[in-house]
Symmetry: C6
């Protein structure tokens, strides 16, 4: 059984693409804020590298808060919790990086995530998006899950070109080099319904 | 030997359904408050994923305190301890998620848990309930333990339909999609006897 | 060589019953207070589950301090150290729960432990005592050690009924369901000699 | 090569008896104070049980400071470091307990350790000394090292009685039941030369 | 697939040379600052020795802040995050030491890194650069990646002399003994565009 | 390839003798101070026992600060970092103890280390130097590295006597029993060039 895209109207929920032993799948990155002192909680049966992605995303946002109009004060007034369902499945690897970044920027800006969009790509501290593996399997999973638009690293364009045209029907690809392009593409300028004032 | 349902009149004690190597069983999620600084203590010989469920439940409640009329101040004035007897049995997996959530909401609101109800389902940070495995074994255990009502994820309805009618006699099922539905179903509007003022 | 019961006149020393690879034995739970900030120290070559029992006992007492007239302020002014001799023997399991609870209540109330009494049973956060294994071996060890009274979970009564009458001569059994019954049975109303004023 | 007794005139250095794979040996427990906030540092390639002995000794002294006229304030003004040479040899077990206790009481009272004395025995939180193993090998090592007096648990007297008289010539044994007897026997009433004022 | 040199205009990004099981490669050391209290975060799937290199670089800079005109106050006002993409590849060893040092000095001075330069060498606390292995493979990778200048330890000059002249065409080597020479060579006197005022 | 002695004019750099699987070698203990709160950082791919040596050296100096005229205030105003190159080589054992002690005393007093001197020996908390192994291999390595003077434990004199005279030519040995003798022998009364005022 595969997951289906769900339209999530809350801030901080973003659809990623995963590549597991049993093929491609979509996954959700979920993040929430609670009053606190700036702690970062990470759950979802994640391995070391995937936890590092969450840390990198968080630190990148802290270091570039002005880029998205985030008041740096909020980092000290809230705890952040990032979770990746489903808990029974161990997950690892750097490819959820841009999904985590998008989740956290949505959370801190309360901007709405675009509908029917999914993404996969590694993040860096210098703002570049890096290519990832398993592209073919991930694309097939995205189609099954009714995803319409996909954000990939420019370097993954070659992987898409090797996939038969018929499998790509109905999908739009956005190739990016910079992490700021991901945010521009994935988040709308609208706030979520009942947006929190941070 | 299997456990029997016990009517617990204290806040924070909720009946869950577990699936172990020796079949289905019921289990109790117990939680208490003590004066403190907001620490979360988790015991009961639990594995990593089950401990994560407790963290997710706690953080979700912190982030959605207003949903159940909880004053956020209490999170800093008390320590929470969640325990899952029996200590000799190792336990893991995400399926106690909704039971833990219900236990903690009961604890923080001092609302009474409905009689003869049990539940099983994974929780998320976006408020969705996810389906879990071992449904048939869990249902049989629930019947043996004199449970009358069971809360399951809507996606687990198909598992119930595959069970012979005779095994289901006397059981009422509540299928939910959202975590807020679990709380509405499982907690009464009454306070427990001798409810604490937090 | 087996241990013999020793009359301990200091607060916090309680006799438990253990079941090891070489048969039943008695063991002592020892606890002391020192000026501090509420830390809990646990020693005695204990495994994870037995350490959890100590935490559960401590948190249960903190949450129910009024039940035994304990001023909650003391929990922040002292450190507690629980030790289970003998250090060379690894120990684990939940069955020392009620012994640890009794040790800590004696410590915080400075009430004297009844003479020649021993006990075995798992504790919970909802105040119930749960049954434990190895009852026959534990009873034989208790007799050898000159124990006169034994506290057991009501559900362990069936195990006693399977033991030949001759082995039980001279022993009185107290079957309990609630943790508060254990304390009523095991602690006298007298303070220990030279009781500390906490 | 075996160690020889060295007359140590500084506070906190006490001779113990050890039983290793290559036979009996003497060992030194060394402890020092430095300005700090009450931290306990333990080194010497020690296993879990031997580290626990150091913790038990420290906590027992904190809880019974008045017994030896120690001002409880000192526990917060100094860090304690306990070391057991030689670092290349892994060491474990509870038998250095009374040696560690003696070392720490000497340290906190600045009382001089008696000459040519060694000891071995497990400590408890209720103040009892427990018997230990390897007595014969330890005694032979003590003689080789020119030890004159040995402190043992009363329950180890039987082990001494099984040793041929000729091996015991020149050794005086002190059998104790209580930890306070160890201190009375091992520490003189004199302060060490250049005693620190704590 | 091998990495290509990228001209990075942000502070804190420096090109290193790595030697892996599949041959030589270039890698990027990335570091950023965020408001904080002086914590050091290290990610990139790094082993113990490579993490130690980051600590050594950081502590060396703290101890020699005046050497590069860094106000020691900044060490307490910011957190530093050092990352080494790509997260899927485990990395270890001391050879990224001078690259990490250069990254951090660039970060704290906001000085621009020289174009088309790469480096490899171990650092010490006494300011010496130590030689490293895999020089031949690293040089070939540097050429493929369009690197023009390479900084090496003076003791690695002999390794370069063993490489055929044709492989070295277009490459300039800088042999250093001291860590201060690395910084002089690798950082320009210019600030990066949009330099932060720390 | 073996290391050669380097004349280090900075405080805190001392030459030790090591015995590894591939024979004897010299090694450098490096230590530095940075503004801080008294933390001790230890790097160099060291095992547990060698890290303990660093802790023992540090604590011994804290406890005996007056012996070398060190103001105890400095221990709270600086962090200390001890590093042992080369990071790629795992190192362990207690024999670098006196070298670490010398490095730290040099660091805190800013006294210059004597030229062409090396040392090996275990330290204790009671101020004694203990003998170590691998003396023959270490001496050969010292000669190759142009060391002129060597500090050893008095008990290692017998090991020197078993080495052929011709291997010892040009080497002067200093046999010590106390840690204070090591410092007297290894540090000059001169301050290093550009000595820090602590
Ligand atoms: Ca899935
Ligand atoms: Ca992804
Ligand atoms: Ca059960
Ligand atoms: Ca459940
Ligand atoms: Ca026993
Ligand atoms: Ca027991
Ligand atoms: Ca020895
Ligand atoms: Ca001993
Ligand atoms: Ca690469
Ligand atoms: Ca490098
Ligand atoms: Ca070397
Ligand atoms: Ca050495």
């Amino acid at each position: 059984e595969r997951d289906k895209y769900e339209n999530n109207d809350v801030a901080g929920v973003v659809t990623g693409l995963a590549w597991t032993q049993v093929g491609g799948d979509i996954l959700f990155i979920e993040s929430i804020l609670s009053q606190g002192k700036g702690n970062l909680n990470i759950t979802g049966n994640l391995g070391k590298v995937m936890k590092e992605s969450a840390t990198i995303a968080m630190e990148y946002i802290k270091s570039n808060a002005d880029k998205w109009g985030i008041d740096p004060e909020v980092f000290n007034k809230y705890n952040v919790h990032i979770h990746v369902p489903e808990g029974a499945t161990p997950k690892d690897g750097p490819s959820a990086g841009i999904t985590m970044l998008t989740s956290l920027v949505s959370l801190f800006t309360q901007r709405k995530v675009k509908k029917s969009i999914a993404m996969t790509g590694e993040i860096t501290l210098r703002g570049k998006v890096l290519p990832v593996g398993g592209i073919k399997e991930k694309i097939l999973a995205a189609k099954r899950a009714s995803i319409k638009e996909i954000i990939l690293c420019k370097d993954n364009e070659r992987d898409i070109k090797e996939i038969k045209e018929e499998y790509l029907k109905g999908l739009t690809f956005h190739y990016v080099k910079e992490m700021s392009e991901v945010i521009d593409m994935a988040l709308t300028d609208e706030k979520v319904y009942n947006a929190k004032t941070l």
